[in-house]
């Protein structure tokens, strides 16, 4: 017998809000998009700031795990441009000073050290400073920002945008020690901090150990080091013919930066097929728009030197083969190609590095030389030490680092109060509030707009590659932003069903435009009916296993109400056609968003 869905906690409801669930920091996406629709940009920005700390930055360079999850992408071609709408909120916001938290002048007596001034550490600082913690922030660079500054080029993330959001935190009154790397965890431990957070990222670009590596010398650079050197103004030009090895977003940043520093013939060469490249699709599109050639299925064999001079890279053509588990193997074809060039940028991945942490002080490391952490709290084997961001589990992205920061801040706060950061973690309460305004009126725009996704305007491509610091994407103007915002389906406004007042008239089942709602007679008395057999009788039996299904308790006549959440448009027609109010549209509010981060 199908069990009634457990709706006693927020998990079911959060799972239905695909974008919010997919965001590592659980940003309340539909709510901030509604605020944009109401032209409350400042409020929308602050809602973002509260959960993801860097809305202007992320509105440009986020990995956007929310967008592939967006329900709109299942009912039509393209998801809502969630990331670019974040930027709309940031671009149109007014003075936010009155919204910022007040930092208490009386401190709580606890002193926290944050190592690395990237997104993870800054999030910890942002969360803990308003609670009265004293914080000291260390970074080996002269300026804060971490990889957001050193690895993301200015044409994607202007420095002014970066600094504005960094300053919001740096101005909260923390002590900064920039330009001095930490060389010993042991001595740091002696300095009597109440807790230490390590957010040092993954600063080590991976090497390519093939013949000719040592001989090629200056003709080769590690991608992230080269980008960092560009960011700090140490590198101002590059040779004409450039090959970038690697297919991730760093490779895309390398090739596009190379185009701007004088690279005329810039090629990105990857071992995988072009489709399997790790870079985000929009990054690939942008690179190609700037005349970068992307070449797939080539494995580098050798850096070729001729008479002491660097000539180029020798590649072998390969083919990707996938077994039934989707695991890829590269099969050599035996064909080799020499691609001549003047400069090679190696962007084939990056790793964490902890040479400054002594291995005999009690911090356990695993076989991959990663710290052993309690996953729920990010606590290391020395209880007062916490890790987050790329440093915790290897390179991910900014928004994951922010989520780690929130999680670690909760852990540090619990730890400093003498509580267990795993067992005594707070559980978020939740609330569902009816959006009914009149007999058939709702507080939100329930009319479904059929508009297709609006393309974000770009600056002229020919102009773009002439300037290193000109932002290529111009962002939506207000009109386009509002039009794009109207595509949001308001998935956080839930269809909530009350069994006790349903009269089984089937009005909701009839009206639902996407055939979500089913009333099924499950005759269990004659024989035990399998769940699969019941679900095979749904109006659309080809169900998406990744989506929730809302199952009611048996109704008066013994029927079950089964709602497949997969395609629900949250249009509210079920609630409008319900004569008894058994369906209602209720908005989900999570009381403690940070506590919902798993």
């Amino acid at each position: 017998m199908l069990k009634k869905t457990d709706t006693s906690n927020f998990r079911y409801f959060l799972n239905v809000v695909d974008c919010q669930q997919a965001c590592p920091a659980h940003t309340p996406v539909p709510e901030y998009i509604r605020l944009i629709s109401d032209r409350k940009y400042t409020e929308s920005y602050m809602l973002n700031w509260e959960s993801n700390v860097f809305p202007s930055i992320l509105g440009r360079v986020c990995d956007r795990p929310c967008e592939p999850a967006c329900r709109r992408g299942r009912v039509e071609e393209e998801p809502v441009a969630i990331c670019r709408l974040k930027r709309v909120a940031a671009d149109n916001k007014e003075d936010i000073n009155s919204y910022l938290p007040i930092i208490p002048s009386d401190k709580n007596g606890k002193h926290i050290a944050l190592i690395g001034a990237g997104p993870a550490s800054l999030t910890v600082a942002r969360d803990l400073l308003p609670m009265g913690y004293k914080i000291t922030l260390f970074d080996r660079e002269q300026k804060a920002g971490g990889m957001m500054r050193t690895q993301i080029p200015a044409f994607r993330l202007p420095e002014t945008v970066l600094e504005e959001e960094l300053d919001l935190i740096l101005d909260m009154g923390l002590k900064t020690c920039f330009g001095e790397g930490i060389s010993s965890m042991k001595s740091l431990l002696d300095e009597k901090y109440d807790a230490i957070f390590v957010g040092t990222g993954a600063p080590l670009g991976r090497e390519l150990k093939i013949p000719g590596r040592d001989e090629a010398g200056d003709h080769l650079s590690i991608g992230i080091d080269w980008l960092s050197s560009v960011a700090f103004g140490h590198t101002k030009k590059i040779d004409k013919r450039v090959i970038v090895l690697g297919g991730g977003n760093t490779a895309m940043d390398c090739c596009r930066t190379a185009r701007r520093l004088g690279g005329k013939e810039v090629k990105v060469v990857v071992r995988s097929s072009l489709e399997a490249m790790k870079a985000s699709p929009w990054e690939k599109t942008d690179a190609m728009a700037e005349d970068v050639e992307l070449i797939g299925n080539h494995k580098p064999l050798e850096f070729v030197m001729r008479e002491g001079k660097f000539v180029g890279v020798l590649f072998e053509e390969v083919q990707s083969h996938y077994d039934e588990n989707g695991k890829r193997t590269l099969i050599d074809t035996g064909n080799t190609v020499l691609m001549e060039c003047d400069k090679v940028l190696i962007a084939i991945g990056q790793d964490t590095a902890f040479p400054w942490i002594e291995r005999d002080i009690g911090i356990d490391f695993n076989q991959w030389d990663q710290p052993v952490l309690e996953e729920a709290s990010l606590q290391a084997s020395i209880p007062k030490i916490f890790f987050g961001g790329d440093a915790a589990f290897g390179p991910k992205n900014i928004i994951t680092a922010v989520a780690h920061g929130h999680k670690a801040a909760i852990s540090i706060d619990l730890f400093c109060q003498g509580k267990d950061p795993v067992v005594e973690r707070p559980v978020s309460d939740f609330n569902l509030v009816s959006q009914k305004m009149g007999i058939h009126e709702w507080s939100y725009h329930n009319k479904i707009k059929q508009d297709v996704r609006y393309a974000v305007p770009h600056m002229d491509r020919k102009q773009a590659i002439k300037q290193l610091a000109s932002e290529v994407e111009l962002g939506y103007d207000e009109k386009m932003g509002l039009a794009e915002a109207s595509r949001c389906l308001n998935c956080d406004i839930h269809t909530v069903f009350s069994e006790s007042i349903c009269i089984e008239c089937s009005a909701c089942e009839d009206i639902c435009p996407v055939d979500c709602i089913n009333f099924l007679q499950v005759d269990d008395e004659v024989e035990q009916v399998s769940d699969e057999r019941v679900l095979s009788q749904l109006r659309v039996s080809d169900i998406n296993p990744l989506q929730e299904i809302l199952i009611s308790a048996p109704l008066k006549t013994g029927q079950l109400m089964i709602k497949d959440e997969d395609m629900c448009l949250h249009c509210g027609l079920c609630a409008e056609r319900c004569p008894t109010g058994a369906w209602d549209m209720k908005k989900l509010t999570l009381k403690d968003l940070k506590a919902t981060i798993l």
């Binding site: 299942r74 009912v75 039509e76 007999i439 058939h440 009126e441 329930n446 009319k447 479904i448 059929q450 009269i503 089984e504 008239c505 089937s506 009005a507 089942e509 009839d510 009206i511 435009p513 996407v514 055939d515 979500c516 007679q521 109006r539 659309v540 080809d542 008066k556 006549t557 395609m567 448009l569 249009c571 509210g572 027609l573 409008e576 056609r577 319900c578 004569p579 008894t580």
Partner: protein
């Protein structure tokens, strides 16, 4: 209030032989009260037509006046439609059917439209055995005029305002049986598993098919004293046989030899499969059908399902000997062949 239904549909929705989904058989968004049984009938008609893969432009939907008669607006957007004068749908349907016998005629009427103002018209269209499906959305009240009791309301039944029905009710199924309908069924808007196969069989049936559909009025007749409310009907409904519709294209399985099951071949080759629940049930006995309906009513039960069928009976065109080609397709020279033909006829009598 929403007046437009989103155009998005489930991407994995089933398509029929014409490549259409059930949403292609929809009409405008209903303006009837939320929870109105008529909306369920609307959806059942759309589902039945979609499952039968009927081309919408080969269907004509006709109605009279009333909540029920608004309903055709809400299904089959691409079918022909005629919203006639109160109670006069049968005449218009007859005329249309005479002019073009190739269309499928769906009549949608209500208890006032058929049992009061149009009762005479109803009686005669049944007698004529016009080839059509005649549906009555029967809720026992006049919803459009704020809930007066209808002629189908049983004696003693109280309206929402507390007024009891003083007169004997008209049972439209019994009337249809008496007037000579060749397909008579009763169903409930809240039970699509019964209603949809009945609609499909009735459309496939040649001759006059009548379905009386109990369709609760949530606004004026869903009160505790009503015997047309959702709760009352759910509690008192019973059936003598479960009807299943087997389309022509589906291979007909070898009969399992059960005596409680019967296959009836319909005009278009499809099969109406009846599984008896009441051993005494006989779909071919008109008199017994009337008795059974009255017996159940006396016991306070609502008998639903197929009451009676005569798949062999002649329809109006056969009785009348009309031409096989629809009248509207006949040209002047066929209809009025000229004096030389008249002359030949006259010669034959000399």
């Amino acid at each position: 209030m929403s007046y437009i239904k989103p155009q998005f549909k489930h991407p994995r929705l089933q398509v029929n032989d014409l490549g259409l989904t059930h949403r292609d058989y929809e009409g405008a968004l209903s303006t009837l009260c939320a929870g109105c049984g008529h909306d369920s009938i609307t959806s059942a008609v759309a589902q039945a037509c979609a499952e039968l893969s009927l081309p919408p432009h080969k269907i004509a939907k006709l109605s009279g006046i009333g909540c029920s008669s608004k309903a055709p607006t809400y299904f089959l957007n691409n079918a022909h439609g005629f919203n006639t004068v109160h109670g006069r749908m049968p005449s218009v349907a007859t005329g249309a059917n005479m002019a073009n016998r190739d269309l499928i005629y769906l009549g949608m009427s209500g208890d006032g439209d058929s049992a009061s103002i149009g009762f005479g018209q109803f009686a005669h269209v049944v007698r004529r055995r016009l080839n059509m499906l005649y549906m009555v959305a029967n809720n026992g009240v006049y919803g459009l005029t704020k809930g007066q009791l209808a002629a189908t309301a049983e004696q003693g039944m109280k309206s929402k305002s507390g007024e009891a029905s003083l007169f004997t009710d008209i049972d439209l199924c019994v009337s249809a049986l008496q007037f000579g309908a060749t397909f008579v069924a009763r169903s409930f808007s809240g039970d699509k598993s019964q209603l949809v196969p009945l609609i499909k069989a009735a459309i496939s049936h040649k001759g006059f098919a009548f379905i009386d559909i109990i369709s609760p009025c949530v606004t004026f007749n869903n009160n505790p004293d009503s015997n047309r409310s959702y709760d009352y009907v759910h509690d008192h409904i019973t059936t003598a046989a479960v009807a299943d519709f087997v389309p022509v294209k589906q291979e007909i399985r070898c009969e399992n030899g059960q005596s409680d099951s019967e296959d009836i071949c319909l005009h278009d080759g499809s099969i109406l499969r009846l599984s008896r629940i009441d051993a005494d049930y006989d779909a071919h006995d008109r008199i017994k059908a009337m008795t059974k309906i009255e017996q159940h009513k006396a016991e306070g039960k609502i008998l639903t399902g197929l009451m009676y069928i005569d798949p062999e009976a002649d329809d109006y065109h056969e009785i009348n000997g009309t031409s096989d080609a629809p009248l509207n397709s006949l040209k002047q020279e066929t209809l009025c062949p000229g004096s030389h033909v008249l002359k030949t006829i006259n010669e034959s009598f000399r």
